[in-house]
Structures are given as structure tokens and as C-alpha cells.
């Protein structure tokens, strides 16, 4: 992308616009809304089963009945949105249950860190990583949004398919050191993704005439079942001895050395996450996944081997990635009206109800809306950093009540959250079934993250492959018809093959293969 000739004046214009945004968004009243939004958002994010999208959806009617004007409603809801992205990590780290789907990757190293007594370090590192990711992404949104919108035009079915292949090819090394188990888990996820209406023929598949299965299995149902409900089963079985619930948290100190050590991971995670967010078909979950996998692949030796066992970089990269993706996802939402994720879809709904139509002209026609939104994102970020680093204990307190309170609480929130999402008792039964599946998989040492990834991306991957086949009249070479697609395929193949060779090199006595690591 070439810089436009009027680069200097562009910067001045951006700053002037930003000043205007702050002048609208930075009143004591909106600041109060931002603080409330951040607080509520962090709690919503931290509670398993209540994610950013149902959090924001639940708050829309409240903001209307409070009679908020467009700007105030936007400030409140974007604060909740960013807050939930921050909050998701708290239960990932402390309970091994992701608060929302992008926080899934944070369980991999965050929970082992907590088990080693480094919960506070994990929370601080991930909090700072969230801040770095969200802040840089917001700045990116501010400067590049109109140009970035064009990136979406470069991605057709073939390119998206290659992008999803990249995700699945790099999946091998996740969580478990047994590639076959990860592949099996991904296959289960892809299988579940096939349920529902086939978009290319309009025919229902594997629905057994059940109307609730027409839209397929909601990944939130799967994630709450596989993580939260399975954790409850596990807790009951072990009488709380070997469960995640009840991790103790020491004093919150800022681990400066660890922050310095992970700064590279944060920046790389931010870059990857932002790009994933900007692409409408990718979103925050893919952003945090790719950020984690990339970080693992650039690490060397013992550092690499410690991924999945409590490496702080494994916490920093995905958290920076998912928060950057949350900011990035606003780019296609504002400039094209294409929501990149469930939450941006809800925010899009809010804008439409306020008679603001996102699209290519939004920046030109409604600058006051765009710039006050950006200003409120920046405000929310600073508020969230303060809440999530020095004050994180407040939120931890909520999760560190005794097990006999927490456990029924988690169960209840799981049920209420899922019911509020879909309004159907069928999904609650499905969630329990996923809980059983998650419990069995844990016993067998099969990682559950690939299942979620399969459900999350399987549909989009298939749709894009079939669209590509329709467009090319069945010519498979179409999948390799653009430089972007070829580049992604090369990265996918390298990602798939490299670990096989690297493992040989790494298999030295310095990094002993520990079979017990398969267990969790």
C-alpha cells in the first residue's frame, strides 16, 4: 500500500478529528458510562457462558430505556465490548474455563501458570498484553480504516479457504504433544460443523427434522459445555482435589522482567490479531489462535518446549491477538457494514437502530459518530488497564469464592447464559451433552480447543470452498489463482511440515519428552 501524497496533512486532519471526538466523548457523564461499561464488561467477560456478544445484546434494550443518545449508547456498549475482551482471560487463567471464545487460547498457558503459583503474573502480563493489543489496534483503526477496507476486497473464496487451511495445518502442536489426538479433536469439531442447513444447496444436513439444528450447533453451546460443564463434572469426580477451581492468588505485583521478556510476543500478537480482525471471515478467535501458534513457532529450544506448560509468552501473544482483533473487527464493520464477529454484529445492530448506517461513506458523512466512537475506545482502554492490572483483585474475588458457591454459580450462569442466547431448552441439553464429551476427552487426553476451532471455522471453510468451486466451474486450480492464496498455502504447508522436522532436532536430552504432559 503506497502512502497517499498528502500524508502530512492527513495526520493533522486525523488529530483534529480525534480532538473533536474527545470533545464529544469526554464529558463527566460519558466518562461515568465508560467506567460502568468497562466494569460490567469485565464481569460479563469473566463469567463463563456470558460472552461479549450476549453481554452487548442484553445491554442494548437497557441503553434505550435509559434514553441514552447515540453517542452515550455507543460509549457504554463499546466499553462493554472491550471490557469483555479483557475479562475473558480472568476465568481462563484462574479456572481453566475461557470466559469467552477468543480467550480459549489463554487457558493453554495461563492456567498452568496459575497452578505454579504465578496467577498474578499471568493476570498482569495478559492485562498489559490486552492493553497493548487493543490500544495499537484502535490507533490502527483510526489511521488506516478507510484504506484497510480495501483489504477485504482482496479476499475471495479461494483466499479465505487458504486462510482456514493455515489455521488447521498449524493446529497439530496445540495443547497436547500428540498430533494425532489434536487432529482427531479437529475432525470431531469439523463433523459437528456439518450439522445444519447447507448453504450451497439449501438442504438440511444431519438435522433429523429437528428445527433447532437447522442453523447448526452454536459454538458458544459447545464451548460452555466442553469447558465449563466438563470442569464441573471433573470437580465432582475428584472431590475438588485435582480441579482448576480454587486456585489461590498472591499479592499483585507487576513483573517488570516478565513484561519486558514478553513485549515481542505482545507486538507480534497484536500485528497478527489486527489483520485477522480486519478480515471479515476471520475474527478474534482465529486472531488469538494464529498469534499463539506464531509465537510458538518463533520460539526456540527450551522456551518452545515450555509452551503449554506455563510460558508467559503463551499468555501474552493470544491476549494481545484477541484484543487487537476486536479493534480490527471494527474496520469492516464501520467501513463496509460487514460484521467480522458476533459482537460486532450486535454493535452493527445498535448503529442501525440509531439510524447510523455503516458503510463506505460513514467516515465522511458521520464523522462525529466515528470519532467519538474511536475516542471512547481509547478512553475505555485506559480505564480497563487500570481496572485489570492494579484492581484485578476485585474481579478475582468474584471468582475466588468457595467451591460450594462457585460451582453451582458456574453451572447456573452456564445455563442462563446459553438460554439467554438462543431461548431454547434444546441448546441446554446439547450443552450438557458437550459437557459429557469434554469430560471423556479430558480422560483420554484429547485437547478440546481443536473441537471448538473446528466448529467455529468448519462452516466458513466449507462454504468458501464450495463458493470457489461454483465460481470456477469445478476447477480446483482456482484455489491457487492469486498471490495471496499461494502465500497462505505455503505458510500452511510450512506450518504443517515444520514441526515434524523440528521435533527431531529438538529431541535432545535437554528437552525430555514427558508423557505425563499429555494429561491436561
Amino acid at each position: 500500500m503506497a502512502f497517499p501524497p498528502e500524508w502530512g496533512s492527513k495526520i493533522m486532519e486525523t488529530l483534529a478529528n480525534l480532538a473533536m471526538g474527545f470533545s464529544i466523548a469526554l464529558t463527566p457523564y460519558t466518562l461515568m458510562l465508560a467506567i460502568i461499561g468497562c466494569f460490567v464488561g469485565t464481569i460479563i467477560g469473566a463469567l463463563p457462558g456470558l460472552g461479549p456478544s450476549n453481554g452487548v445484546a442484553l445491554l442494548i434494550p437497557i441503553s434505550f430505556s435509559m434514553g441514552l443518545d447515540a453517542i452515550s449508547a455507543l460509549v457504554l456498549l463499546t466499553s462493554v465490548y472491550y471490557g469483555a475482551m479483557y475479562g475473558g482471560r480472568i476465568s481462563s487463567i484462574l479456572l481453566n474455563i475461557p470466559g469467552d471464545e477468543p480467550a480459549m487460547m489463554t487457558t493453554l498457558d495461563g492456567y498452568p501458570m496459575a497452578k505454579q503459583g504465578k496467577a498474578s503474573e499471568a493476570l498482569v502480563v495478559s492485562g498489559v498484553a490486552s492493553f497493548v493489543g487493543a490500544m495499537l489496534a484502535t490507533i490502527g483503526l483510526m489511521i488506516f480504516a478507510p484504506y484497510l477496507a480495501r483489504v477485504a476486497y482482496q479476499f475471495g473464496p479461494a483466499e479465505y479457504f487458504a486462510l482456514y487451511m493455515l489455521a488447521f495445518c498449524t493446529l497439530g502442536g496445540i495443547g497436547s504433544s500428540n498430533q494425532a489426538k489434536a487432529a482427531m479433536a479437529a475432525a470431531i469439531g469439523l463433523g459437528i460443523a456439518m450439522i445444519g442447513l447447507d448453504k450451497t444447496t439449501g438442504m438440511p444436513r444431519f438435522t433429523f427434522g429437528e428445527l433447532h439444528l437447522m442453523d447448526g450447533v452454536d459454538f458458544l453451546v459447545a464451548i460452555v459445555g466442553l469447558f465449563a460443564v466438563a470442569e464441573v463434572f471433573h470437580f465432582i469426580e475428584s472431590h475438588g482435589k485435582d480441579s482448576a477451581i480454587g486456585v489461590k492468588l498472591g499479592k499483585i505485583l507487576v513483573p517488570w522482567r516478565m513484561l519486558k521478556q514478553t513485549s515481542g510476543a505482545m507486538l507480534r500478537g497484536t500485528g497478527i490479531g489486527f489483520v485477522a480482525g480486519v478480515l471479515p471471515g476471520a475474527g478474534a478467535s482465529l486472531g488469538s489462535f494464529l498469534a499463539y501458534m506464531a509465537e510458538k513457532s518463533v520460539a526456540k529450544g527450551a522456551d518452545k518446549a515450555s509452551f503449554g506448560k506455563g510460558n508467559p509468552k503463551g499468555v501474552a501473544a493470544p491476549e494481545a491477538g484477541n484484543n487487537a482483533a476486536a479493534g480490527g473487527a471494527l474496520v469492516p464493520m464501520l467501513t463496509l457494514g460487514v460484521p467480522g464477529s458476533g459482537t460486532t454484529a450486535v454493535l452493527l445492530a445498535l448503529l442501525l437502530t440509531l439510524n447510523i448506517t455503516p458503510g463506505p461513506l460513514l467516515f465522511a458523512e458521520r464523522p462525529e459518530v466515528v470519532w467519538s466512537l474511536i475516542a471512547s475506545l481509547l478512553i475505555a482502554n485506559v480505564v480497563l488497564l487500570l481496572m485489570n492490572v492494579p484492581m484485578v483483585k476485585v474481579f478475582v474475588k468474584i471468582l475466588s469464592v468457595p467451591a460450594w458457591v462457585l460451582l453451582p454459580g458456574v453451572t447456573m450462569i452456564a445455563f442462563v447464559g446459553i438460554y439467554s442466547l438462543t431461548g431454547s431448552s434444546f441448546d441446554m441439553l446439547l450443552m450438557v451433552a458437550f459437557g459429557v464429551l469434554g469430560y471423556v476427552m479430558r480422560k483420554l487426553g484429547i485437547p478440546t480447543v481443536p473441537v471448538i476451532l473446528g466448529i467455529l471455522l468448519g462452516n466458513a471453510m466449507e462454504d468458501n470452498l464450495r463458493r470457489a468451486m461454483v465460481l470456477s466451474n469445478g476447477d480446483w486450480w482456482y484455489l491457487l489463482s492469486s498471490p495471496i492464496a499461494i502465500g497462505l498455502w505455503i505458510a500452511a504447508i510450512v506450518g504443517f511440515v515444520a514441526p515434524i522436522f523440528l521435533r527431531r532436532i529438538l529431541k535432545k536430552p535437554a528437552v525430555p519428552h514427558d508423557p505425563t504432559l499429555n494429561e491436561d
Binding site: 439449501g202 463496509l336 431454547s424
Partner: protein, 319 residues
């Protein structure tokens, strides 16, 4: 202070109890789509006109393209006089294709339609197609060379628009027409501007921003007459192809309510449709007036369903 009491009242309303007498609008999809829009706008205007005592509660009941809401209203709330449900061409399309697990159009009562979103065919700015006929001729010459992108799945309303248009133009090999279904109109435009599809079919309201920014060029609007604000866009009719596709916005109510209650809904909807507020909403969102109420609307629904069944049979979606 006032805002706090209101917030508290709202929170209470949300969590504790919803008064049984409050009117409720079911939007059979997640927030953000056309049905949600219909519910929220009609609800707001009903409150502003004083037709309902309280705020209209909007419930999002997503699933199966409206099927979950439809079957729920049929089976569980068939005599609830306080509920109405947002509907559009998609609702009747799916009913025609038997996509609601056996539910049929006569299991509810159709109240009326208060606006319509004209169908439109657009191409990328640099497309070689200048008129609708250029596009139609290209399809006739080689159907494999033109791919249409739309915001609905195969068999959905965006797909049917293309089929009905080409059918009217004298092309009858329905299965040879290339169509890719994406997640919503904006997504379909992105693919068309990117050059992956050659033309895009959707509702005018989802495309207005892209037309005004110059990213896409409309070559035909599928309405009876040219649309105000888009006076330079010719209708398909003017170009010799008599095809009209209006995605109407309306509502239905449960079957077993009394005739008085049904008449009350028809009357209220008519008042909303005639209000200044609704006219403003239509103007802002690229909707056209499309007013049909009561019996007239029921007849229209039955006719639409018969039409869609014919064409769906031709592409093999229904037997």
C-alpha cells in the same frame, strides 16, 4: 437522579417481570437484521403514537431462518393477543419451500405489510456490463461466465430474484445460473467489488451506501417505478424485463386470537404505516411504500407462496 431511576426500572423490567399486558414483537433473528429493524421501528412508533400503553418489548428469537419463532408461535402462543411477529419475503419463501418443519402459512394470521425494499442488481464500477440487457445476454451466451452473489442461501429470496428475472427474460435453464450465497448483503457486495462475482443481487436498502460511494453501479431496480432518490437507476421493466421483486416488511399474529384482536392489529399497523415517523424511516432507509392490510395481504401472501413454489420446483429445491 432521574436517569438512575429509569435505569433501575429498566433493569427491573428486564430481569424480574415483564408485565403480561405489554405488547411484544418477536424478531425471528438476532439483532441487526431486517426483522429486528421492523420490530424496533414499529414498536417505537406504536409507543410514540400512543397505540400501546407501555414500550413494545422486542424479543429476538433467532433460528432456522425464522422457523423457530414461527413454530413457537404456532404451537405455544397460538392464542396470545399481545404478540406480533416481524416477517418479510423470506418468511413466505421459506414457508413455500417447506423449510419450517411442516408448518404452513395458514397456521398464523397475516396482518399487513407497511413497506417494501426494492430488489436491485448491481455490478462493480469497472464492470463491462452497462445495462441489464448486457448482463442477461452474457448469461444467455454462457451461464458459466456470470456468477451472482447474494446475501441469502441458495433458494433464498436473493437467489429467487435472479431466477425470476432471468426466467422473465426468456432464459429457462434455472439450474445453470451461477449463484453464491454469502452472509448478508454487505458481504456479497465485498465479493462483487473484489471481482470474485460478476453481479450482486440484494435489497436496495443494504446497498445505498455503496452506490453513493461509487463502489458499485446499479443496473436495474426491481420495482414498478423508479425509486425516489435513485432517479437515474432504471427499472427492469423499462429495460423490457417485467420482473418486480419487493422484499416487503410486515407482521403476522397467532391464529387463534379473536377477530376483534386481529382487526385491532390491522388498524394499529395501518396507523403506523400512515404515520409521519414511518415515512421518515422509509426515506432514511431506502424503503418504498408497500401497503397491504388484512384480507388483501392474506391473498398476496398466498399468491407469493404459489409463485415461489413453482420456481423452487424448477431448481429442485422442493418436489
Amino acid at each position: 437522579m432521574k436517569i438512575w431511576t429509569r435505569a433501575a426500572a429498566a433493569a427491573l423490567l428486564m430481569t424480574v417481570a415483564i408485565p403480561a399486558s405489554a405488547a411484544e414483537c418477536i424478531a425471528p433473528a438476532n439483532p441487526g437484521g431486517g426483522w429486528d429493524f421492523t420490530c424496533r421501528q414499529i414498536g417505537r412508533i406504536m409507543t410514540e403514537l400512543g397505540l400501546v400503553p407501555n414500550m413494545v418489548q422486542v424479543t429476538n428469537l433467532a433460528g432456522a431462518g425464522g422457523g423457530v419463532a414461527y413454530t413457537q408461535v404456532v404451537s405455544k402462543r397460538s392464542s396470545d393477543p399481545e404478540v406480533f411477529v416481524a416477517a418479510s419475503s423470506s418468511t413466505t419463501t421459506r414457508l413455500a419451500q417447506n423449510a419450517f418443519a411442516g408448518a404452513t402459512a395458514d397456521q398464523v394470521r397475516w396482518v399487513g405489510s407497511i413497506g417494501g425494499d426494492p430488489g436491485v442488481i448491481v455490478v462493480a464500477q469497472d464492470s463491462p456490463f452497462q445495462t441489464l440487457n448486457d448482463l442477461v445476454e452474457a448469461v444467455k451466451a454462457d451461464p458459466a461466465s456470470v456468477a451472482f452473489a447474494g446475501g441469502s442461501a441458495v433458494g433464498g429470496y436473493d437467489h429467487l430474484k435472479v431466477l425470476m428475472l432471468l426466467n422473465e427474460a426468456g432464459f429457462d435453464d434455472m439450474r445453470a445460473i451461477k449463484y453464491i450465497g454469502l452472509d448478508g448483503g454487505a458481504d456479497a457486495i465485498t465479493q462483487t467489488v473484489g471481482g470474485f462475482a460478476q453481479a450482486m443481487t440484494g435489497d436496495l436498502s443494504e446497498i445505498t451506501g455503496f452506490i453513493r460511494s461509487g463502489d458499485v453501479r446499479p443496473i436495474a431496480v426491481l420495482s414498478e417505478e423508479r425509486v425516489a432518490g435513485f432517479d437515474n437507476v432504471p427499472t427492469a421493466k423499462e429495460q423490457g424485463i417485467d420482473s418486480v421483486s419487493m422484499n416487503w416488511r410486515g407482521v403476522y399474529v397467532p391464529k387463534d386470537i379473536s377477530d376483534e384482536d386481529y382487526d385491532k392489529w390491522v388498524d394499529m399497523l395501518r396507523q403506523v404505516g400512515e404515520s409521519e415517523q414511518w415515512q421518515a424511516v422509509m426515506a432514511e432507509n431506502g424503503l418504498e411504500s408497500y401497503a397491504l392490510f388484512g384480507d388483501e395481504f392474506e391473498a398476496f401472501v398466498n399468491q407469493s407462496i404459489a409463485d415461489v413454489q413453482d420456481i423452487s420446483r424448477e431448481i429442485g429445491l422442493v418436489q
